[in-house]
Each structure stands twice: as structure tokens, then as C-alpha cells.
């Protein structure tokens, strides 16, 4: 195992997003805080909530999940795609680093960024309002597992993409709508049928509710089901990435 190679790639990836910290960490945190201000402080009081949970307490876990999903996906996808565009991917492809180590380094760096953004939102929300944290281990498990899954997804999409547009399609037409319709801003219990049933086919619903259960102890769905879905997805996505790195003609024609 080329540990030095793995460490170097991990450090390089962390350094890469740190060099544009304003764009990769501060900007998404500010965007998330805008959601918090608009939905949490202005219209939140008018939204009826069950089980005695305030809307802001309900909203924060959803926003944390949103920021983790976006940043984990963006970090791996943009980094690998830029390497492909610039041709520097060749430096990695000729290096004696195993495909597993390459995936692990990219994913860990993405996790660092995603968790940094998520933690920033939590800290700011805690300072402003003071939020609950009932099951910290559950929060951590969901944050890490979801970050890993979307980092893996971003990596695979970047390997397969030939244009930036293809990355954006994934983000604009799949991830953002699924996140927004995944119970970030509302409980699916307020939805009429058939939308409530349809929502249950959205995997992000289980991730958001799992994290919400960790923070405030309420969930629209069985709270550990999401963890099972995410961990299963991680295994599949890891295998897919291994296959792509070994076989994809997009990297090695």
C-alpha cells in the first residue's frame, strides 16, 4: 500500500479547496444561513409544527444535510473534472496509487469540506438560537455516511462527464429538487396524498429525517432506515467507482 501516495493525494485535495476557501466553504455557509434567516425567522412562526418542536429546530438539521450533500458532491466532482479538463489527471493515472486509495483520498477530502460546512451552520445556529443535540453519535453517523455517499456519487459523475454542463445537470435536475422535496423545509405529514407516498420514494427524505432525529428526536420515517439506505448506497457507489477507475474509457481510452 502506497501510504505516502494516499496521504499526498488527500493533503493535495484538502489544500485545493482551502486555496479557494471563500468559494468552497464560506459561500455555501452564507447561502445556507440565508435559508435559515428567510425560512427560520421570517415565515417559520407561521408554520404549524407537531410534537412540540420549534420550526427553527426542525429546519436546522435539514439545512445541515443540504449543505453536506451539496459540498460533498461538488468537491469530488469539480476537483476530478477540473483535473480531466487541465490534463493533470495524467499525473494521477501514471502514479502507483491503487484505485481504492484514490477513491478514499478524494472522498475523505470531500468529507472534510462537507463536515466543515455542516459544522459551521450548526455552530452559527447554536449561537443565534441555541439548538438541541439529542443523539450526537447518530448525527455524526448520518453526516459521515451521507457525505461519503454523495462524495462517491460526485466522483463517479465526474469520471463519466465530458462537459461541465453534465455535472450541473446532475446537480440542478436531480440533487437540488430531491433535497428540497426531501423534507428539508417541511414535514411530509403536511402533504396531501399521493404526494406523501411519492415522497417516501425519495432517498434524501430518509437522510434528512435521520439527521433530524439525531438533533431533535423527531422523524417522519423510521430514523435508522436512512442509515441503512445510505450505507448500502456507499457500498454500491464504492464498487461503481472502483469499476470506473479500472475500466472506464473516459479515463483510460
Amino acid at each position: 500500500m502506497n501510504w505516502i501516495g494516499f496521504q499526498t493525494l488527500l493533503w493535495k485535495e484538502i489544500k485545493r479547496f482551502s486555496k479557494v476557501f471563500g468559494q468552497t466553504v464560506i459561500s455555501p455557509v452564507i447561502t445556507t444561513l440565508l435559508y435559515l434567516i428567510v425560512f427560520g425567522f421570517s415565515v417559520g412562526d407561521r408554520i404549524p409544527m407537531a410534537e412540540g418542536v420549534g420550526y427553527l429546530d426542525f429546519l436546522v438539521p435539514g439545512l445541515v444535510m443540504l449543505v453536506i450533500i451539496n459540498n460533498a458532491f461538488m468537491n469530488t466532482s469539480s476537483s476530478l473534472f477540473i483535473s480531466k479538463l487541465q490534463g493533470t489527471i495524467a499525473d494521477l493515472l501514471v502514479a502507483p496509487i491503487s484505485n481504492g486509495a484514490v477513491i478514499a483520498a478524494y472522498v475523505l477530502a470531500a468529507l472534510v469540506r462537507a463536515l466543515l460546512c455542516g459544522a459551521a451552520v450548526v455552530v452559527i445556529a447554536w449561537v443565534v438560537r441555541g439548538i438541541e443535540l439529542r443523539h450526537p453519535l447518530e448525527v455524526l453517523a448520518y453526516a459521515v455516511a451521507v457525505g461519503t455517499a454523495f462524495a462517491l456519487l460526485g466522483l463517479a459523475i465526474a469520471i463519466l462527464s465530458d462537459k461541465f454542463e453534465q455535472l450541473n445537470i446532475m446537480l440542478t435536475f436531480f440533487l437540488t429538487p430531491l433535497s428540497f422535496l426531501g423534507g428539508v423545509f417541511y414535514s411530509i405529514r403536511v402533504l396531501p396524498e399521493p404526494w406523501q407516498t411519492i415522497s417516501r420514494f425519495n432517498p434524501i427524505l430518509y437522510m434528512v429525517n435521520g439527521l433530524r432525529h439525531g438533533f431533535v428526536g423527531v422523524s417522519d420515517v423510521p430514523h435508522l432506515l436512512g442509515l441503512g439506505i445510505v450505507l448500502g448506497s456507499c457500498v454500491l457507489l464504492w464498487g461503481w467507482n472502483l469499476w470506473l477507475l479500472a475500466r472506464s474509457r473516459k479515463l483510460r481510452p
Binding site: 499525473d91 502514479a95 481510452p253
Partner: protein, 392 residues
């Protein structure tokens, strides 16, 4: 001066590329090597010049300081010749859809050798290098580097290789020093600032050490890519047109450095469009044309086989008609009435004495003799022309 080739005479001697099944492979020391079995026993013995670290049995690493080869015999052994080839290709073929980019390439390259890979644009040079370096997948055939099989031991193969790709690339997030530290790390080497500084000095990049790679000129980017390929001291280096876009002065310095690398026992595969570069640096030359390795040999072998020496005798009066004694020796009338042209194969018996004797016999007095010998470029054009079935 008039210089015409007799292209068609040599058509029959040009190799038709690879040998199916790779029973024999050409290399420098033995001319032809019998194919060895690939049981893996030899591979497991490790590679010469292996380096320590977390990579395990991998390549790279300069020879220990203070332990240079001290006798010509040591030097000979150091440069290989008797040992297994550093690079061994057997029936390497690559198809891009319907296009056959490489057709059963067989080749063996010895340790310390500089192998010049020449060919017109699109001949398959970069594809071949990319297959060995792991950037392109081969359709069939086998590749061995330092005894490691690319199929079964890709990481060990990669650890033995330094690649300077043809296409310029740069990472806009990092400066020159950071890029080199990363390159070193990728190959399992802990950052060695002294080694990086040494390379920066050789490649005249010290002043750009902390400059973002985006801000480098084309020539500087090329030099940085050379530094990246060499920073982990690989025993096998591929230089895919390394001096393209580099100024004359630096080209000289690079050539000098390539000579130093060879002195350390580094094996180099060089592709270039500068014939002067190949002529000056390469121990052996391979000519690739339309995916086939049509000819390999040393510069002298190629010149002997395909080169011509042309002598133009300027005589005191026009020998018209040309006397039969001269005609029978192959002398032809020149462009000007007072000139006679005589051609002979380079490296073979010249027959010049016989021509001079025949001139004297005809009472012709020689005022001047002009000569011209074939250069590598002429040989290259001749071989490519013959392969294309045309007169170059």
C-alpha cells in the same frame, strides 16, 4: 548538389513489424532475444535499483551516493546488456474502433539505453508510450517493465516510470514547488526539498519556485513537466517530445542532462520531431509508421543500410559521351557537363580508388571532389517513403 535516392532497391529489407506470437524480440545487446517464460518467478525477484518506502518492491531511487560504478567493467554491467531488458513489449496492439493504432509491436530496451522513437504524426508513438505508462489500455499483447508485468503488477510498473506527456498540463491551484512535492509523494517518496531544488536549478526554474503554474510560459510548463517526471528518480523515463517549444539554449542543457541521466543508468525512450535530437542522443532508433514498428537499429546500422555517400567529381573537361569504363563502375553524368556523380553505400566498400583509376585512364583530371553523406533525416524519410510505397 544533386542527391537522389534509389529508394526502391531497399524495399525488400525493411522489417514488416512485429513477429506474431513474439517468439523473438529485438534489443540492443543480443540483437534478438528469445522470448522468456512469464511464470512470474523472475518478477518476484524484485527489480534492480528498488527503492525503500511504503511502496514495497518498487523502482526509482538514485544509486547510493559514493557508490558509482568504478571500472569500465562495472559501468558495462551497470548499463545492462547482459541483464533482462528494462522494457519489453510483446505483440502490443491497440485498436480505436476500426482504426488499428498499433499493430503487434515487439521491442526490448536495455538498461541505460536511450531509445529514439521516430515516426510521422499519427504513427502511434504517443499511443505506445501511453500504453506503457498506463494512460491507455492496450487491446492485446504484453508489457513488462523492469520485470514487472503491466497486466498483473500495474502499480509496480508505474512506480518504475517517469512520463513527460506531449500535451502541456498545469494545475492552476498550486505553485511549482507544491506540484513537485505532490509528484514525489504520489510515487511513495517523502518530500525531499534538496532533490526538488536540484531539479529546479537544472531546469532553470528556481526563480519560479513559488509561482502559480498558471503563470508559467509554455517553455516553463514543459520544463516543469520534465521535473515532475524525474523528481522520483525513475529508472525508465518517457520523454514525449520534451524539447518542443523550448529555446535552443535550454534544449542544449536538457540534452546534457539527458546524457547525465544515461550515465546514472536511467533508460530513456524519446520521441521527437527533431532529427538532430535523435541523432545526437539516441543509442538506438525505432521507426514507427502507421502503427507498425518498421525498423529498429543504431544510427550507424540505419545509415549503413539506408545511407548513401555521394561524391561529385569536377573534372577539367566534359567527358561526353561518358566512357564505358566509368559507366560500368556506376558513375553518372552530373547536372553540369564537367561533373560526374558517384554513389556508394555508406559503410561498405567504396570503389573510389577504381573510379579515380578509371578517370586517370580516360585522361580526365580531377579539379575538386564534393561529398555528401546521408543524414538520419534522409534515412527516416527513405524508410517512411518505402513503407508508403512512394519515393520520398
Amino acid at each position: 548538389m544533386v542527391f537522389m535516392h534509389d529508394m526502391t532497391r531497399k524495399a525488400g529489407v525493411i522489417a514488416e513489424g512485429a513477429i506474431p506470437g513474439c517468439g523473438k524480440v529485438e534489443n540492443r545487446s543480443g540483437g534478438r532475444l528469445a522470448a522468456e517464460n512469464r511464470s512470474g518467478d523472475r518478477l518476484a525477484a524484485g527489480s534492480p535499483g528498488g527503492c525503500p518506502g511504503d511502496l514495497g518492491p518498487v523502482c526509482g531511487g538514485r544509486p547510493p551516493a559514493g557508490n558509482p560504478p568504478d571500472s569500465p567493467g562495472d559501468r558495462e554491467r551497470e548499463l545492462g546488456g547482459a541483464g533482462p531488458p528494462v522494457l519489453r513489449l510483446c505483440g502490443v496492439t491497440k485498436h480505436f474502433g476500426e482504426l488499428c493504432a498499433l499493430d503487434r509491436i515487439d521491442l526490448a530496451i536495455d538498461k541505460g539505453e536511450i531509445f529514439g522513437l521516430l515516426g510521422p504524426n499519427g504513427a502511434g508513438k504517443t499511443t505506445l508510450i501511453s500504453i506503457i505508462a498506463g494512460l491507455v489500455r492496450r487491446s492485446s499483447g504484453s508489457v513488462e517493465v523492469m520485470g514487472y508485468d503491466l497486466q498483473r503488477q500495474p502499480l509496480q510498473v508505474r512506480s518504475c516510470i517517469g512520463l513527460v506527456p506531449q500535451e502541456l498540463n498545469y494545475d492552476p491551484f498550486f505553485n511549482v514547488n507544491e506540484v513537485l512535492r505532490f509528484s514525489m509523494g504520489y510515487f511513495g517518496r517523502r518530500p525531499d526539498q534538496a532533490r526538488i531544488d536540484e531539479l529546479l536549478a537544472i531546469l532553470d526554474l528556481q526563480e519560479k519556485k513559488h509561482t502559480n503554474t498558471r503563470a508559467l510560459s509554455g517553455g516553463m510548463k514543459r520544463r516543469l513537466m520534465i521535473a515532475k517526471a524525474l523528481v522520483h528518480d525513475p529508472p525508465l523515463v518517457f520523454l514525449d517530445e520534451p524539447t518542443a517549444g523550448v529555446d535552443v539554449e535550454l534544449r542544449e542543457e536538457l540534452w546534457h542532462y539527458i546524457g547525465l541521466l544515461r550515465g546514472r543508468g536511467t533508460t530513456i525512450v524519446l520521441t521527437t520531431h527533431y532529427m538532430e535530437e535523435a541523432e545526437r542522443l539516441a543509442d538506438r532508433i525505432g521507426i514507427l509508421h502507421r502503427g507498425k514498428l518498421v525498423r529498429t537499429g543504431t544510427r550507424d546500422e540505419l545509415l549503413r543500410e539506408f545511407g548513401e555517400q555521394v561524391l561529385v567529381f569536377e573534372v577539367d573537361r566534359p567527358p561526353s559521351p561518358l566512357p564505358p569504363g566509368l559507366r560500368s563502375l556506376g558513375v553518372e553524368p552530373g547536372e553540369n557537363g564537367n561533373r560526374l556523380v558517384y554513389r556508394y553505400q555508406q559503410g561498405q566498400g567504396s570503389g573510389v580508388n577504381e573510379v579515380l583509376a578509371a578517370l586517370a585512364l580516360e585522361g580526365l583530371s580531377v579539379r575538386q571532389i564534393h561529398d555528401r553523406h546521408t543524414r538520419l533525416e534522409d534515412v527516416f524519410l527513405k524508410i517512411i517513403g518505402l513503407q508508403s510505397g512512394r519515393r520520398p
